[in-house]
C-alpha cells in the first residue's frame, strides 16, 4: 500500500524537497487562494507553467504520476463537456455578451468562441489547481505537513492527526486486504463482473465490521505509547522533521508574502468590489 501512496514518507533531495514544511504549506495555501480567486488566464497561465516546471524538477516517479494526470484530465474534460451541454451559451455571459458561433449542431447545441474561451479558462484553472496540489504532495512528507500546519497556528493535536493517519494507512490497508481475502475464501464475491452493484455494496459492507473493529483496536496501544513518551504534556512542541530555514526558504518567504498582498488586493478590487464581473477576453 505504501507504494500506492503518492506522498513520500522520506524527504527527497531536489530543490523543492529541501524547503521546510513551513514554506511548503504556506506557499501551497497562498497559491490555492491565488487560483481560487482568479478567473483570469493572465494570472492562471504563469502558475500553470510554473507548476509544470515544479513537477519536472521534483523528478517524480512518472509511471505513478502519469496515471493521475490522465485520470484528472479525463474527469475534468468530462466535466467541461457537461458544463457545455448544460448551457452552451454560458460564455456570452462571462465574455461580454458576444455570441460568435463556431459550430452549430442543433438549435440548442452550438459552440461559440466565447463559450470555448470560458470553458478553456475553466479547464486550465481546474488543471492548475490539480497540478499545484500534485507538486505540493510530491514535495512534502506527512511529517513536514504536520510541522507546516503547526507553523500556521493549527493546534498540534490536529497536526498529529495528519501524521498519525498517514502512518497507519498502510497498516489499515493491509488489514483491509487480509479481511477481504478471508471473506473471499468464504464465498464473498467482489468482482464487478460477477456480482451486481447491490450485492457488491452488501458484501463491501461485510468487510466493514471487522475492519472497523480491528482498526480501532489499536487506538489504545498507540495512545498509550504516545502518553508514555509525554505526548500532550506541553502547549507547544517541536518537529524533528522540520530543519532550520535555508536561504531558499527565505526567498520563498519573500515571494509568498508579496503574493499574499497581491491576492488581498485582487480579492478586494475584483471579487468584493468588482467593477465588472466579466472575465478577461481578448477578442471582444
Amino acid at each position: 500500500m505504501e507504494n500506492r501512496l503518492l506522498i513520500n514518507l522520506i524527504p527527497g533531495d531536489t530543490f523543492l524537497h529541501r524547503l521546510t514544511g513551513k514554506t511548503k504549506v504556506r506557499t501551497f495555501i497562498i497559491l490555492l487562494v491565488y487560483i481560487i480567486m482568479s478567473f483570469d488566464i493572465r494570472l492562471i497561465m504563469p502558475l500553470f507553467i510554473l507548476s509544470i516546471i515544479g513537477l519536472v524538477s521534483l523528478r517524480p516517479n512518472w509511471k505513478k504520476v502519469k496515471y493521475f494526470i490522465i485520470v484528472i484530465t479525463v474527469v475534468n474534460l468530462l466535466n467541461i463537456v457537461l458544463f457545455w451541454l448544460a448551457d452552451p451559451d454560458i460564455g456570452s455571459y462571462w465574455c461580454g455578451g458576444g455570441n460568435t458561433v463556431l459550430v452549430s449542431l442543433t438549435e440548442r447545441l452550438f459552440l461559440s468562441a466565447e463559450t470555448l474561451w470560458y470553458l478553456s479558462v475553466r479547464f486550465i484553472k481546474m488543471i492548475t489547481s490539480f497540478m499545484v496540489s500534485l507538486v505540493f504532495i510530491l514535495s512534502i512528507t506527512p511529517s513536514e505537513m504536520a510541522a507546516g500546519l503547526y507553523s500556521i497556528k493549527v493546534p498540534y493535536k490536529i497536526c498529529t492527526i495528519f501524521s498519525i493517519a498517514f502512518r497507519y494507512i498502510p497498516d489499515i490497508a493491509r488489514d483491509y486486504n487480509n479481511i477481504k481475502v478471508s471473506l473471499q475464501t468464504r464465498g464473498v464475491e467482489l468482482d464487478p463482473k460477477k456480482a451486481s452493484l447491490k450485492s457488491r455494496l452488501k458484501q463491501n459492507a461485510l468487510i466493514l465490521v471487522p475492519l472497523i473493529i480491528t482498526s480501532f483496536e489499536r487506538v489504545g496501544n498507540i495512545s498509550n505509547a504516545m502518553d508514555l513518551r509525554g505526548y500532550g504534556r506541553g502547549k507547544t512542541r517541536t518537529y524533528y522533521s522540520e530543519h532550520e530555514e535555508l536561504k531558499a526558504d527565505k526567498v520563498f518567504k519573500a515571494i509568498y508574502i508579496i503574493l499574499l498582498l497581491f491576492c488581498a488586493y485582487w480579492i478586494i478590487t475584483q471579487n468584493i468590489m468588482p467593477q465588472d464581473f466579466r472575465m478577461w477576453y481578448p477578442f471582444v
Binding site: S143, R167, T185, R186, G187, V209, R218, A225, Y240, H243
Partner: protein, 573 residues
C-alpha cells in the same frame, strides 16, 4: 545497588470497569541496577503491575489504588505520567502500535519533540539513542521496511533519552522469531550492563528470557506475587507448572528423568549447570522405551511443484516443491518475509504461481476459483477479529454455506457438524463477543470447517497466548487431526509448537525451501537453523553436553513428551 527505585507497599489496584481488584497485597522492592523478570500467565496481573509503575494506571486506565507505590521517590498516586516517564521508559508489546513516527529518526525523537526540545539539540540525542540499540544507519527508514526486532529496537531507543533509569519491557518476545528473540534478550542484557539501567521484563516465556542472566524472578498469579527470589530456586520447585508457566525444555527433560533438582545448581543456565549428578539418570532416561509415534497418514492431497512467485520483480518464492499427505500436521517455519505466508496464499489460490503448479487431490488447481479452492483448503487468519463478521456464533459459522446458496437442510447439517467438532454446539446462539479469545479462534475454525475442507492452514494460531491458552488451542487442533483426520498446516515461528504438535517442518528461507523434514532433524541441523533464523533448543545443548546424538535425543524427548501428554507420566522408577 541497594537504593530502591520501585517500592510497592501493601499495594492494590482495581480497574474502574471491574468489580474486583486486579492486584492484591503487592509488596515488592526493586533496587537500582537490578534485572528482574516478572513472570505469570495472562490475567495474572503482571502487565497491570508494570502499568502501575509507568503511570498508565491510573492515567490511561482509570482505577483505584490502595496502599503505596513509590517510583524513584515519587508516590505514583500523585505523580503525573509525564513526571514518571522521565524516570521510567516502557517498551510495549505491540511493535507496530508504538511506532508512531513516519521514520526511525522521527520515532526516536518523539519524546523529545513533545518536550519542545529544539531540533539542533535533538539531532545528537537521537543519534546517540539510535547508536545504543544499533539502529544509527536506519534513521531514514520507514516502519514498513523494518522487522519486528528492528521496530522494537527503535521503541527502546525512543524511551531511553535523558535520565531514564528504569526500563520496562512488556512481553518483548511476543512477536519475534526465535533468533530475533534471542537478539532482543542479548540487547536488553547489554543495556543493563553497559548503560547501567534497571531492567524489568514482563514475560511468560521463561526459557527464552533465561538465555541471559536475570537477578531475580517475580512470579505472579491471580493478582498476587507467589514467588520472589532467585531463578534457580524457582526452577527447582513445581511452582511453574502449578501456575501455568512452561518450564524450560531441559528442565522438563531433567524432571522426566527423575533428577532431583536443588537450588544452587545453576539451573537457570544450561551451559553452566553442573550435569554430573544427573548424567546417569538422564542417560538412562534416554534409553527408556517410548511408543514411537506414528501419525495416521493417507494419500497425497497437496502437491506443490517447482512453484515460483513474485509480486513485482523480485521473486518471493523460488522453485518451491513439497507435498502434503492426508492426516499430516506440517509446520511452515522461517523468519518473516521468508515466503511462508505467500506460500499459504498460493495454496489457497489468493495468489497464483508464476511458474510451476499446485495440485489438489491430484488435479491442477488452475481452473478453480478462490471460492472453489476454499472448499478443499481452509485458511484461518491470525487475528480472529479480522475474520468475524457476524454477531451470533451460528450465523458466523453458516456464512460460507449461505454465500454458496446451499439448501437450508444442508446448511443446518454442516453447521451442526462443524460446531460439534469445535465444541461450540452448546454456545451456538451466543454472541461472538461473549466468548474468550480461544473460543473466538474456535469460531473462526468452525466457520472454515463448515465447508469440510481436507486441509486447514492456520497462521500463527497461538500468537500472543500464554502457555495455558496455547495448550488449549493446540490440544483442540490436535484432536481435530486425530479424531477427524483433518490435515493441518501451521504457519509459525514458535519452535515449541513445531516440536510438540507437528510431524514435519517445511523450512523457508529467502523464498526457498531449505529443509523439509521431521522437526527434530531440522532442529539438529546448524545450517538450516542459521538460514531460517531459528534457534537451537536447550535440548540440543543438553544432548551435546551428555554426548548423545542430538537428533536422537530430541526425537526421544518428543515421543516421551507426547506419551506423557496422552497418557500421563508413567510411574517413576
Amino acid at each position: 545497588m541497594s537504593t530502591p527505585i520501585v517500592e510497592f507497599k501493601n499495594f492494590g489496584f482495581r480497574y474502574k470497569t471491574q468489580t474486583s481488584p486486579t492486584l492484591h497485597d503487592i509488596n515488592l522492592t526493586i533496587h537500582r541496577g537490578e534485572k528482574v523478570l516478572i513472570l505469570g500467565p495472562s490475567g495474572s496481573g503482571k502487565s497491570t503491575l508494570a502499568n502501575c509503575i509507568n503511570g498508565l494506571n491510573p492515567f490511561s486506565y482509570d482505577g483505584v489504588i490502595t496502599g503505596s507505590c513509590k517510583v524513584a521517590g515519587m508516590e505514583t498516586k500523585n505523580a503525573s505520567i509525564f513526571a514518571l516517564s522521565k524516570v521510567v521508559g516502557t517498551v510495549l508489546q505491540d511493535s507496530d502500535a508504538q511506532f508512531v513516527g513516519l521514520s526511525v529518526g522521527e520515532d526516536i525523537a518523539f519524546a523529545l519533540e513533545n518536550q519542545g526540545i529544539p531540533r539542533k539539540e535533538m539531532l545528537p540525542m537521537v543519534d546517540q539513542a539510535a547508536r545504543i540499540v544499533g539502529m544509527e544507519d536506519f534513521l531514514l527508514h520507514v516502519p514498513y521496511d523494518l522487522s519486528g526486532g528492528q521496530k522494537q529496537k527503535v521503541a527502546l531507543a525512543g524511551v531511553m533519552h535523558g535520565d531514564v533509569e528504569l526500563l520496562i519491557f512488556d512481553e518483548p518476545l511476543a512477536s519475534l522469531d526465535p533468533r530475533m528473540g534471542m537478539t532482543a534478550v542479548e540487547l536488553i542484557d547489554r543495556i543493563h550492563r553497559v548503560q547501567n539501567k534497571t531492567i524489568l521484563i514482563i514475560e511468560h516465556r521463561l526459557e527464552d528470557v533465561l538465555h541471559r542472566h536475570v537477578d531475580r524472578i517475580v512470579l505472579m498469579n491471580e493478582g498476587r506475587i507467589v514467588y520472589d527470589g532467585e531463578p534457580d530456586r524457582l526452577l527447582a520447585s513445581d511452582l511453574l507448572t502449578r501456575h501455568g508457566i512452561r518450564e524450560p525444555l531441559y528442565i522438563m527433560a531433567m524432571k522426566y528423568a527423575g533428577c532431583e533438582l536443588e537450588p544452587g545448581q545453576k539451573l537457570s543456565d544450561i551451559h553452566e549447570l553442573d550435569l554430573s549428578p544427573f548424567e546417569e539418570k538422564l542417560k538412562k532416561q534416554h534409553l527408556a522405551k517410548v511408543d514411537k509415534y506414528v501419525p495416521k497418514i493417507g494419500e497425497e492431497i497437496l502437491k506443490v511443484e517447482n512453484v515460483t512467485f513474485a509480486y513485482g520483480k523480485d521473486p518471493v518464492l523460488k522453485d518451491v516443491s513439497f507435498t502434503i499427505k492426508r492426516g499430516e500436521k506440517v509446520a511452515f517455519v522461517g523468519k518473516n518475509g521468508a515466503g511462508k505466508s505467500t506460500m499459504a496464499k498460493l495454496i489457497c489460490g489468493i495468489e497464483r504461481p508464476r511458474e510451476g503448479r499446485i495440485m489438489l487431490n491430484g488435479a491442477d488447481y488452475t481452473s478453480l476459483s478462490i471460492k472453489e479452492i476454499a472448499e478443499k483448503v481452509g485458511y484461518v487468519m491470525q487475528n480472529p477479529n479480522q475474520m468475524l463478521v457476524k454477531d451470533m456464533i451460528k450465523d458466523e459459522v453458516e456464512l460460507a454455506m449461505l454465500l454458496r446458496g446451499r439448501s437450508r437442510k444442508e446448511i443446518d447439517e454442516a453447521v451442526k457438524k462443524a460446531l460439534k467438532m469445535c465444541g461450540l454446539w452448546p454456545m451456538r446462539n451466543w454472541p461472538v463477543s461473549a466468548v474468550s479469545y480461544g473460543q473466538k479462534k474456535r469460531v473462526t475454525i468452525a466457520s472454515i470447517l463448515v465447508l469440510q475442507p481436507d486441509i486447514i492452514i492456520l497462521d500463527e494460531p497461538t500468537a500472543g497466548q500464554d502457555f495455558r491458552h496455547y495448550t488449549e488451542i493446540m490440544e483442540f487442533l490436535d484432536e481435530l487431526n486425530r479424531e477427524y483426520g483433518i490435515t493441518i498446516v501451521f504457519i509459525t515461528h514458535d519452535m515449541h509448537l513445531a516440536i510438540q504438535y507437528t510431524d514435519r517442518a517445511v523450512v523457508f528461507a529467502e523464498g526457498e525451501v531449505v529443509a523439509d523434514d521431521s522437526v527434530y532433524k531440522v532442529l539438529s541441523d546448524d545450517q538450516v537453523i542459521n538460514r531460517a533464523n531459528l534457534k537451537q533448543t536447550s535440548l540440543y545443548t543438553l544432548a551435546m553436553r551428555l554426548g548423545i546424538e542430538p537428533e536422537a535425543y530430541i526425537e526421544h524427548f518428543i515421543n516421551y513428551e507426547r506419551m506423557v501428554r496422552d497418557h500421563g507420566k508413567p510411574a517413576a522408577d
